[in-house]
Amino acid sequence: MLEDTAPILKARGLRYEVPDALLLSVPDLQIGAAGTTVILGPNGAGKSVLLRLLHGLVAPSSGICDWAKGVGPEAQAMVFQKPVLLRRSVAANIHFALARRGLDRAQRSELAAQHLSEAGLGARARQPARTLSGGQQQRLALARALARAPKVLLLDEPTASLDPGSTMEIEKMLVRAKAQGTKIIMVTHDIGQARRMADDVVFLFQGVLSCHQHAPAFFDAPATKAARAFLSGEIYQSEGLGA
């Protein structure tokens, strides 16, 4: 849909069904190599399902999800809405990601310290990870994802349960990651966050890809009625999937 950068991802005819329900239908989606792509939509729009399909956590019922060479799921990292931290120290959570990159102990220690200080967790390296506050836990989860040195970083509502201050800290880390060339694909239902972060917006509504536009265009003149209604805060009722 957006042709100005070479696509990093081409998805075609992507459908995800469970018995008696079609949860997601994305006939055609191309995501560019640069910037932050925000997947936006109300609750239940299929945003998380789309992200999980893209990352290969679930297999589509039909359709294909084609990543460019070298940026497939093995070169990606994902941050979940509820941070999943290992039952280890804060530093050991980062080491886990660094070890997956095949780094030796000395390299790991140096990089771990760096990642922790960038996440504002430098003083907490030895603390059990699961005793951190909610905001700190999500920062650690994000730092661990970044420690994988991913080409593509996927985030599923990373700030949905965080206060504004913690949200801001996460967003700062994301801005830094983007500046270092990491492609970011982020799910949110928060319009304000989408405005702050997005270079392009994929709008999902009731399980269907509604529109995909550059951020300024999307917020000025959303291409679909559903997107207009969502942005204006109206509750938009349609006849359901495919209507």
Binding site: G56, Q76, A77, F80, V84, L86, P128, R148
Partner: protein, 234 residues
Amino acid sequence: MEGFSQAFQTSLGLILAGDPYLVGIVALSLKISLAALAISALIGVPLGALLAMHRFWGRQIIVIATNALMGLPPVVVGLVVYLALSRSGPLGVLDLLYTPAAMILAQALLITPILVALTRQTLEPINDEYADLLRSFAVAGMRRVWVLIWDGRFGLLTALLAGFGRATAEVGAVIIVGGNINHVTRVMTTTIALETSRGNLSLAMALGVILLIIALAVNAVLSMVSQATRRGYA
């Protein structure tokens, strides 16, 4: 009660003096139970991890069976091992009846279901919670088993201690397959049974005290483990 207090005093004397006969029995008991625990852990922990990680046909049957086998009556285990090891039994050629090896086998059979069931109970919630994360990090196979075991380490230690406690306290199975032979297969519990019936209360009581101390030590470690758990590692 005079006999009681006198016997108690004598028993403390035996313990404090490190009576060689007593020490021999305690050492043999610990050796047998630790060997049984090691064998059970090698079988039970991986099997429990397998049950925690995978959904396969017949899994629920194994889960129910291991849960039921946790309450296995020791004398029945003793009888089964006895029949297997006796001259006409399938393992008769090994000539293991009335040896410490037979007792290890019986105790291992008794506590393996405990380790399988407790390992599964410990690792299943961790596996469910980590499923997406580990897939995202492309952690699979033995590496994945190891992550689960390491992150479930406190729960697994609890399972091992529970198994060890059951093994040391058990009498019915080892007396059947070991035969309670002096200096060969006589362990703490079988000695207590024998010496009590013989009226030699002080030795029985000394062993009883040691068994109690072991149980206390096991429980002390358990409570330390649960405190570590509460400090945020589980």
